[in-house]
Assembly symmetry: C2
Homo-oligomer: 426 residues x 2
């Protein structure tokens, strides 16, 4: 295999795999430092995952929740982006083998994030939709709208075209179910008067006895109330046992016809191969020490969702797999890499929890901060403001704002094109 | 085959195939009339084709140049949309056979528009890119950016990754070439400093001896000057003889390596099958009389690009294949269908030319109206204003305006995500 072309540099090379929150933050913080920073990603853009569900439900364009990686860094002179799929890592030779060529590293940072966890259900993995990338979100949008069109076209249609099942009562599941309910309440009556909203069913299925397990009990209850106000059928202590693309079999033996199951029930570390089994925990995460270094690998680090750190005393079982952890680890690792090269003592990671937010719909959200919890309109406004601020790029913020203001006044989710029809596997 | 489900109606059923400018206008004008209006389209959205080249070159989101068909009509009670691919028409039984089922008609209007005309070049048809739909435009955008990424990744790359060839010097070719030149001038230096703009070549190839053949000679010259100011290599009296995906063979025998050939050289009527050869002209258009009725078919009409009308005395060889003709024919046919059912005399079509516009880039455009011609800044502002007004929907207008203002101040074409990598055929 040929080598990936990169310019010579007198400085050590840090290769970062993954342009998510962790990878981007780390690369930015290495600006002006004595490193050659190389970022690899299979996409040429950074995805703002917290808003992906709005792309899936027609509230936002794909282009406003994603941002070209090269544009983020176009003033950073020690930065090089290469679009590549990592196939394997060879830590003996310090080589990363990708589909575009091989690249050597002095330091390697794995920031590959997470994949959907189907908990071993092979048929669900094959037939259910997920929400971990922009193409996923566009596929959900296409499938949703295709099913409505099929229902109306009429000939030889399967049952359950209008039944949507969301699996998982965490923030993503709650947000998707809420957005779908708003779609049903405001778009279905005007676009599909022949169907009518009462025929569309939205069911949220959660294995435990409450929603938003990571939040306070009251927030979980509020989310449930909000969803029920929007006529979402919330089934707690319910699991999905199999799904063949048409029929979902529930844990209690009932069968539900559905052409659209959206799986938001869990994530698993997306670790590349070649690092050895001893660093891998059962959930696919890489075991790291307090400075995010892989056990037994001098020059390899992991941050964010893919990293499992058990040394932070408030989080003995590892940190939650959320954006804030990745951001904070990326920031600290940049400083620690500088310290390392200077022979200084590194600083161990401590997670500072800033707060959690989840929104169900218009004026319906929960927000938890260290000093106060909010619900309803205030939480919803906080949610919007914080997400707008975190979006990369002024243009994206403006376009998202126009869309949100538009949706608020018009009760419309305007972006409902089936650009590429989603083809189900058989 | 089952029947497409549609409600009973006491009124005659008009089936319109195609939701372009002609089909949409006709359906709108039949609002409140005594017809059941059924629109069939393979997409669930109307595409604003004049701005598709901006999607292809990263200036606009796909979602702002397309508009959900159901949303256009959600207050029109005699309107029914069905997403379906028409396979064949049976005029004896008045049946339309689609992938979703069969539908009968009392009146049938074919408004299917046009396809790219590759003039029999099978390899170009296979390997060149085109710009007749939203997925086409997204594919061009992906290919363009993928080629830049491949050039940088380095290993085993083909020649000509940075050579772009645009075939055809009509408005679309000129607009694409201009937009590509602006991309090269402003995005390449900041996103791809390792490449540098001087290595990217953009060549516009036109078979005749001038650009914008349908415009006045001075406008064609102005367009050429504008393009040359932007360093586009304009080759007149040049044809492309073959293109295998890597090498373009020109009419004079020279070979040019290129991984991206965009074909804008001509269009052909997109006529459905089953209407008989006697109505079909050599360019795939359907011969119609002065009220857009197909020869020998009492109840079948064709409007827009797919219709060839030779009775308009100012256009003895048929009308130009442009949006204005389709709009005006759609409007008149609505009135004529009403007259027909009332037993009144129908009115023959006369095309009223409103003007033509083509834009090359910032402050560079040509505009021709019956009373005056414009070039430069004035033409460019006219072009923007007219296109904004014609876009369907307030949200789309706002988002396009935000994008244009943003691009104008920042010199940036912001939307450059490779959402679905384009896979070349082999």
């Amino acid at each position: 295999m040929n080598e990936l072309s990169l310019p010579e540099s007198p400085h050590p090379r840090v290769v970062i795999i993954g342009g998510g929150f962790g990878g981007i933050t780390l690369a930015r913080k290495l600006r002006g430092r004595h490193f050659q920073v190389v970022l690899l990603d299979r996409h040429n853009y950074h995805t703002f995952l917290p808003l992906l569900y709005q792309v899936a439900t027609g509230g936002l364009e794909a282009d406003s929740v994603a941002y070209p990686i090269r544009k983020i860094f176009h003033r950073q002179r020690n930065f090089y982006f290469r679009m590549a799929n990592v196939e394997r890592i060879d830590t003996d030779t310090r080589n990363i083998i990708t589909n575009a060529g091989t690249v050597t590293y002095d330091y390697l940072v794995i920031a590959t994030g997470s994949n959907t966890n189907f908990f071993g259900l092979a048929d669900a993995a094959r037939h259910a939709m997920q929400l971990k990338s922009v193409p996923h979100a566009l596929d959900v949008r296409s499938l949703l709208l295709q099913n409505f069109e099929k229902e109306l076209a009429g000939a030889e249609k399967p049952d359950g075209l209008l039944n949507i099942i969301v699996v998982g009562g965490g923030p993503t599941g709650v947000e998707v179910a809420g957005a779908l309910a708003e779609f049903r309440a405001h778009v279905v009556p005007s676009d599909y008067p022949e169907i009518g909203k009462s025929r569309v069913s939205i069911r949220l299925v959660e294995a435990s006895d409450r929603l938003l397990g990571a939040f306070a009990t009251r927030s979980g209850k509020a989310a449930r109330t909000y969803l029920e106000e929007l006529d979402v059928d919330v089934s707690l202590q319910t699991t999905l046992k199999s799904y063949d693309g048409t029929v979902a079999l529930m844990g209690d033996g009932t069968e539900v016809h559905s052409s659209c199951v959206i799986w938001c029930a869990g994530v698993t570390g997306d670790s590349p191969t070649g690092l050895g089994d001893h660093v891998l925990d059962k959930n696919g995460r890489l075991r790291v020490d307090g400075m995010n270094r892989l056990k037994g690998h001098e020059a390899v680090f992991a941050i964010g969702d893919v990293a499992l750190m058990e040394t932070d005393k408030d989080y003995p079982n590892g940190h939650p797999m959320v954006a804030q952890v990745a951001l904070q680890q990326g920031r600290l690792l940049a400083a620690n890499l500088v310290r390392l090269t200077k022979g200084q003592k590194t600083v161990p990671f401590r997670y500072r929890e800033l707060g959690s937010l989840a929104t169900v719909g218009r004026n319906k959200a929960v927000a938890e901060f260290p000093l106060a919890h909010f619900r309803g309109l205030v939480a919803w406004l906080l949610w919007m403001g914080i997400h707008l601020m975190q979006l990369v790029g002024f243009r994206n913020r403006m376009v998202v704002l126009v869309n949100w203001v538009w949706s608020y006044w018009s009760y419309d989710r305007a972006i409902r094109l089936i650009i590429r029809p989603f083809k189900k596997v058989n």
